[in-house]
Symmetry: C2
Subunit: 400 residues, 2 copies
């Protein structure tokens, strides 16, 4: 099997990839592979990496990667004002998010060679007349095929009219950049087919749509997503990545081996066979975690993370010697007794966001002297010899 064909979940049309590769050959030009990006949420995780790996495959085969930054609608935000999570973003924030995104992209693809386009370049020029002529190419019946529209219609939750335009605008991006192929997760199938339809309705060749499978989160139930806190971020530290990957259930092992590692099918087969023969799945998880950490960091950091995991989680039961010693002085000169647990945790684990810590505390993931405290605003005095554990892997002992 051609490497470009691996892992594909759905391809439209069925032989679209072959057709486009033939065009590339006969016309002697690289294909234009489009990937869209919404600059409101720049944190990438292992789920995104599946699509990025496919981009990388195309890039290694000599094709051109075209990343579309959806800055036009991000700058509008939610005009109904009902969705507080979608405020209008300033050009500065969009640029920063785009930079962050491209930097993370660089963990998988060669970003010096990609074409980066902002869709305000063409959407910003559309007037009402051109908008009417564009959206006239699509019927209401077509657009409400999209799952979330269908769901809202049937449950009588409102769909604001501008929302119907968004898939069309996203599709128009494909027209504007002459995409040959668009990549995305299976949840993008509808939007990306819209691009194909619009290209064809404007007399251009329609792009092939290639969707990649969605990765299940660490919890094994929902798809991996930042909002579900079941994710491994591409910029997580080696120790975090290693620890998180070791925490998945045995049932998820094959799914992760297939979609997150660089193991070949042969290698995956050998791992599966050894488990069949009675090997401890823990060993396979270590191989998985080591492979992933190596990919996003270095072999050296991967080995170190494996060592630390073995030391802190496996070889010993929690005791003082596993705890990081922290001086009470770190907590500043605040009046004793006036520290919120959340603030203390934020000082101890500065790499975690306050939002993440709050969720962790509320979920019972923080213990003081072995006792769960689930109120982020509990007042705690940071006195010497207090033991605080944050999540499964971070343990602190306060000292003078």
């Amino acid at each position: 099997m051609n490497r470009l064909e691996s892992n594909i979940a759905i391809m439209e049309p069925k032989d679209g990839l072959r057709e486009k590769l033939e065009i590339s050959n006969s016309e002697g030009r690289p294909l234009r592979i489009k990937l869209g990006f919404d600059p409101t949420a720049p944190d990438l995780h292992l789920g995104h990496a599946i699509v990025l790996q496919k981009l990388r495959d195309f890039q290694e085969a000599g094709h051109t990667i075209v990343v579309i930054i959806g800055d036009f609608t991000a700058a509008i935000g939610d005009p109904t004002g009902r969705n507080k999570m979608r405020p209008p973003l300033s050009d500065e924030v969009i640029s920063r998010n785009a930079d962050t995104y491209i930097a993370q992209l660089g963990k998988v693809v060669e970003t010096s060679e990609i074409e980066i386009r902002r869709n305000s370049e063409w959407h910003g020029k559309l007037d009402l007349r051109q908008t009417i002529q564009l959206i006239a190419r699509v019927t209401l019946a077509q657009v409400i095929q999209r799952d979330d529209f269908k769901t809202r219609l049937s449950s009588e939750r409102p769909i604001h009219l501008h929302e119907l335009l968004y898939p069309i605008l996203q599709g128009f991006d494909s027209v504007a950049v002459d995409a040959d192929i668009e990549l995305g997760g299976t949840d993008q199938l509808f939007n990306n087919l819209m691009g194909r339809n619009l290209q064809e309705s404007m007399g251009k060749p329609g792009q092939a749509v290639i969707t990649m499978p969605l990765l299940l989160g660490l919890d094994g139930t929902d798809k991996m997503s930042k909002s579900k806190a079941n994710y491994v971020g591409l910029t997580d530290s080696p120790e975090e990545m290693f620890g998180k990957l070791m925490s998945i259930s045995d049932d998820l092992l094959q799914h992760y081996l297939e979609l997150t590692t660089t193991f070949s099918a042969d290698e995956r087969g050998q791992i599966a066979a050894s488990i069949e023969r009675g090997a401890n799945p823990m060993l396979a998880k270590k191989a998985l975690a080591a492979n992933v950490v190596q990919r996003y960091h270095t072999p050296e950091l991967s080995a170190a993370a494996a060592d630390q995991f073995a030391r802190t989680v496996q070889e010993k039961r929690p005791g003082d010697e596993d705890h990081v010693h922290v001086s009470i002085g770190e907590f500043g000169n605040l009046v004793p007794g006036s520290h919120h647990l959340l603030d203390i945790c934020a000082t101890l684990a500065p790499e975690k966001s306050r939002r993440e810590l709050k969720r962790l505390i509320s979920g019972g993931g923080v213990r003081i002297d072995g006792v769960k405290v689930d109120d982020p605003f509990e007042l705690v005095e940071p006195v010497a010899n207090l033991k605080i554990s944050i999540g499964k892997r971070l343990r602190f002992l306060l000292a003078r």
Copy 2:
């Protein structure tokens, strides 16, 4: 009853007129009364005149009439290219149609005092971003309440997305001109309420919507409409108007007396009572026809039309003396036998359009020497003593 309140079919909100009149009084300013006009179909008939009369009432009460010419969407036409009846109109055609419309408006209202606005003035300035912010104010559920959308959805006929925008754009006209009241037929209720909603959603006072009843056509079944050929045009000749009005069934008499004449409720009551007592409804129809012709022409022309009607239709049976004598020379020097019936009729009745004549011939309304000829392209030689009747009232006798 205040004259402004007469004949109103539906008013939203229920006491909207009273509220607006109070505002007019307290702010010491005339109200702005909006009427929209689609410049694709400038032929006005008695059905339109019901709304125009209400405009006139407002005008006489000192308020400002604002006529919106919907040139923006007329200039786009049907971008799907599926509706051949909606080609994009040039600015020249739109201007001509608007002039024709205003001229016809002049038969009822004082056009020198009205404010005439083209909606391209504001729609032409909207970009995609502003369009998105505008349509976000409306939900899909709201817009598909419109009857023709509902019908098409349930019968699975396509609705192209731009069509959903049109009621919103029309509503935005009310925002742009700060309309206090919008007038229209009952079939405009949905669109005009959209204007009210948008004004309110933008923090302006919402217009009151006043709809006037629809007039039934001469056939008594469908609403009066040009496409149904059941109409009395405001520019019909006195004789045509008179004859057409005399042709309605007795059942339609009250409907027409109420909606097309200047008779007061008292006068209409007297007419109804006299019929109750056994008077011939023909007399009432004559009073109706005379009143309408007088209104759109002059008392003199009205009297003359009544005379001619009496002479040609009532007093005598058709004989040579009822026929207008026409010289064969009128038909030019074409080769004998090469005249289409349609061409002959067009020469005899130049006030009728070729389309109208074609329909009349096909429908069996034209006779040669008393014999129906229903093919517009039948070859007829215009020889002396040939009798040609066109419709019920036009009779010609060809002469050397």
